[in-house]
């Protein structure tokens, strides 16, 4: 160890052994460990958020990519389309498919007599159920007069039921011998054992629980006092008294309503929905007709519970009865939902697709790209390489940077004022959307392009100048090509930004409900994020799935674009 200060003056020595030195080292280690822990914690939190988000979206979105239909043999009558018109696709298209599909469905579940039952059955199908059949017949008119095996699309509620949003179903075998009084309509069933005691007890318990909660509610209301609440309290007290009476008198038969879990009996190939029950006898309504009124031995009949009360679900007991029957018979198929990618928007969730929005996004982005890249790159090259450095260029530069930070909705207002109101461009058109997004993305691209140009070492330009290239030649032969990967990365990121942009497009009317897939830049259209916004606002549960599915598609594109940007950056990364 050398004495820095020399012979006179204090000795500044590097001290590595004293306690103070050891403390210093420990402190440094502790600080480093702390920093590492903070970093890890921050990373963990972000990862957690991202993972939760992705997981939730995927969990919700995956079911949107499949759809349930009924694979059925549909008999197409010979007179469905008159023989002389079969060569005309329009005639085949405009034929009435409803009776054909209805008949196929009725054949699948025979014996339904009531009009209401029939209507419920037919409503299980989507209004677009026959679309596939229609396409088949148009493609091959020879199928008319034959039986065709096609999938008939189920309605959104039926589809959701099969996707698990219905109710848990509990079945247990009957203990006694059950005797139904008939095969259709209102019937009673007697059993030789007290098969329904448990149900009666459960109902009484539910009634008791309800009475108790009502009592609490009445007490709460009573504390407020006041005359206005008195009738309500009296009403509640009457209900409590009624419930208590029901609980206390064991012999009275219990009435099942939609607020309690549904009870049904499967017997003799039929299904009976119970309305009133005692320990040993039940009365109910036949949902699926029985084959006979013969008595059923123990084990040959079942008590079925739909655990979710009917009033709390979208599908009625009758619908569940039909759907379960269709499933048992093997008609139900879950298939990849191609329609999601080939159809435009629709009011019916099961018919709605993202194609319109996708094409709209594509057209919009095409306009944006075509405008942004040349303008952005030329502006960047000019500013970076040719423009004199003076006040004016300084102001322009500052304002380009400011523009990149302007809230996107402002661009929408600008587009509305300039393109729609002044230039009278059509509303909701990808052309206008593209123009607005171009304004939005332009600063990003200019900034990225300038950064990329600046990153090219000046020695390259000097080399070109040195062999007698003009300034412009040096820029266009050497600097710009070398900056291109950076410019492309910036462009892709800008485009990804544009793809996810919603607010400015709302301002120029791209938020309309548009069924047709746009075919031109001036057609009314919407874009993917706006479609997501539209769907997320609709009340139907099935649209929630669609929303998540569309988000997955959008995120897929965004990941793809960002992946491409990263790939370009990695591939063309240079060390000078």
């Amino acid at each position: 160890m050398t004495d820095i200060a020399g012979t006179d003056g204090p000795a500044f020595r590097l001290d590595m052994t004293s306690d103070a030195a050891k403390r210093r080292i420990r402190k440094r280690y502790a600080a480093e460990a702390r920093f590492k822990a903070y970093g890890l914690a921050a990373l963990a939190v972000t990862t957690l958020f991202v993972a939760a988000l992705v997981f939730d979206i995927i969990r919700n979105g995956i079911p949107a990519f499949t759809q349930h239909s009924l694979m059925m043999d549909v008999a197409v009558p010979a007179d469905f389309v008159p023989a002389d018109k079969r060569s005309n696709p329009v005639a085949i298209r405009s034929a009435d498919y409803f009776p054909v599909t209805r008949d196929a469905l009725k054949a699948a579940i025979p014996g339904i007599q009531s009009r209401q039952g029939e209507r419920t059955l037919v409503r299980l199908l989507s209004s677009g159920a026959a679309d596939e059949l229609r396409d088949r017949l148009v493609a091959d008119p020879g199928l008319i007069g034959k039986t065709v095996r096609v999938p008939l699309l189920l309605s959104d509620d039926a589809d959701l039921y099969f996707k698990g949003s219905g109710t848990p179903i509990i079945k247990r075998n009957g203990v006694g011998t059950a005797t139904p009084s008939g095969t259709t309509g209102e019937i009673t069933i007697l059993t030789s054992s007290n098969d329904f005691a448990a149900e009666v007890v459960a109902i009484k318990q539910a009634a008791k629980a309800k009475a108790d909660t009502l009592a609490i509610e009445a007490a709460r209301l009573a504390t407020f006092g006041g005359q206005s609440l008195a009738p309500r309290i009296a009403e509640i007290n009457a209900e409590i008294a009624e419930l208590r009476a029901r609980v206390d008198s064991p012999k009275v038969e219990e009435v099942l309503d939609g607020k309690l879990p549904s009870k049904l009996v499967e017997i003799n190939g039929g299904l009976v929905k119970l309305t009133r029950l005692t320990d040993i006898s039940v009365a109910g309504e036949v949902l699926l007709p029985l084959t006979s009124a013969a008595e059923a031995k123990p084990g040959n009949w079942r008590v079925v519970t739909y655990a979710t009360p009917e009033s709390n679900r979208k599908v009625s007991d009758l619908e569940i009865g039909y759907l379960e029957r269709l499933r048992e018979k093997g008609f139900v198929e879950n298939r990849f939902n191609t329609r999601f990618f080939t159809a435009g928007d629709s009011r019916e969730p099961e018919l709605a697709g993202i194609r319109g929005a996708l094409i709209g996004s594509l057209l919009t982005l095409a306009v944006t790209l075509v405008l942004c890249v040349p303008i952005g790159v030329l502006a960047a090259v000019y500013l970076e390489e040719f423009a004199a450095k003076n006040r004016l260029t300084d102001i322009i530069e500052v304002n380009i940077n400011n523009l990149a930070a302007v809230p996107s909705i402002v661009f929408g207002l600008l587009g509305l004022a300039v393109f729609l109101n002044f230039f009278n461009f059509p509303r909701s058109a990808p052309l206008v959307g593209g123009l607005v997004l171009a304004l939005l993305v332009l600063p990003t691209i200019i900034i990225a392009a300038r950064a990329a140009l600046k990153a090219v070492p000046p020695s390259i330009k000097e080399a070109a100048l040195g062999v007698g290239a003009s300034h412009q030649q040096a820029v266009f032969h050497h600097v710009l090509p070398l900056a291109m990967p950076g410019i492309m990365t910036g462009t892709i990121i800008g485009m990804a930004h544009a793809l996810g942009e919603t607010a400015p497009l709302l301002m120029i009317g791209m938020v309309a409900f548009i069924v047709d897939v746009p075919g031109a830049l001036t057609d009314a259209a919407t874009v993917l994020p706006v479609q997501i916004y539209l769907w997320s606002d609709l009340p139907e549960q099935a649209f929630k799935l669609k929303t998540a599915g569309a988000i997955m598609v959008l995120l897929g594109f965004l990941f793809l674009m960002n992946g491409a940007a990263i790939y370009l950056r990695k591939k063309f990364e240079r060390r000078w």
Partner: protein, 271 residues
């Protein structure tokens, strides 16, 4: 060092008196970078065919003067050049003169090797193609081969002409840059500390190459190495604080400097 210095300078006599074939003539050249007066009243005659070395402490204006000769300073907005520089009696600051053509006549090799990030072939072919020197692909091939041979790098790269120029070693890159410069057949080649980023072996190769090129070109080289100046040049100019203090035959300058600052500098007492 002294030994080799003497043998080398002895082995390479000056091509002739400067006045006879003055290629580059500078009269009262002043350069300002904004407020900074970087070069003051420089007057010099540089002969054709042979090597002239500019030496002097760092920041004295060697590079600045060198960059005046191909008007590379034009690219620096704050730089202002006054005075007169002629090449072959033509005023290179004449407004009627096309600066791009001037730069084709005055090649430049930079301190740090700066090949284009393109193939070796493209590096050399760029200049000739730009100036339409080659009429056909065969011509171009020939120019590329000739230039690479004259830059004595042909044997090392002839089998990999399509590989990137940046994949070569530092010394090879610098020789490639020299090949690129001579591919457009310039009259003058400027070299700004061409060996400062290279190891001794690569340096030796470049010096050998400069020797060889000096037979055909007017070479002006900036160097911070006295030994290098002594080894490769026939004439030397000593710059100090923006002034050209002394200029003459290298032999004479190193053995018998006129100016005490020169004496101090070449004996390593400052710099």
């Amino acid at each position: 060092m002294d030994m080799s210095q003497q043998t080398m300078t002895a082995a390479r006599p000056a091509t002739g008196p400067a006045s006879v074939t003055a290629k580059v003539v500078a009269r009262d050249v002043n350069v300002h970078y904004g407020e900074k007066h970087a070069l003051k009243d420089v007057n010099i005659d540089i002969p054709d065919k042979g090597v002239t070395a500019f030496i002097g402490p760092s920041g004295c204006g060697k590079s600045t003067f060198l960059r005046c000769i191909n008007r590379m300073n034009d690219t620096i907005p704050v730089c202002r050049v006054t005075g007169k520089i002629t090449i072959d009696n033509q005023d290179i600051y004449d407004p009627a003169l096309d600066v791009v053509q001037l730069r084709a006549r005055v090649g430049m090799v930079f301190q740090k090797p700066n090949p284009f990030p393109k193939s070796i072939y493209e590096n050399v072919a760029y200049g000739p193609r730009l100036h339409g020197i080659a009429r056909s692909k065969a011509d171009l091939d020939q120019i590329v081969e000739m230039s690479l041979k004259r830059a004595s790098i042909w044997d090392e790269v002839k089998n990999r002409l399509q590989e990137s120029g940046t994949a070569l070693s530092g010394g090879q890159q610098q020789r490639l840059c020299i090949a690129r410069a001579i591919a457009v057949s310039p009259d003058v080649i400027l070299m700004d500390e061409p060996c400062s980023a290279l190891d001794p072996i690569a340096t030796a190769k470049i010096e050998e190459l400069i020797d060889e090129l000096a037979k055909n070109f007017c070479i002006i080289i900036v160097t911070h190495s006295m030994q290098q100046a002594a080894r490769v040049s026939q004439r030397t100019a000593f710059f100090h604080l923006g002034l050209l203090l002394e200029e003459g035959e290298t032999n004479q300058m190193f053995t018998n400097p006129k100016h005490e600052k020169t004496q101090a500098y070449i004996t390593g007492r400052f710099g």
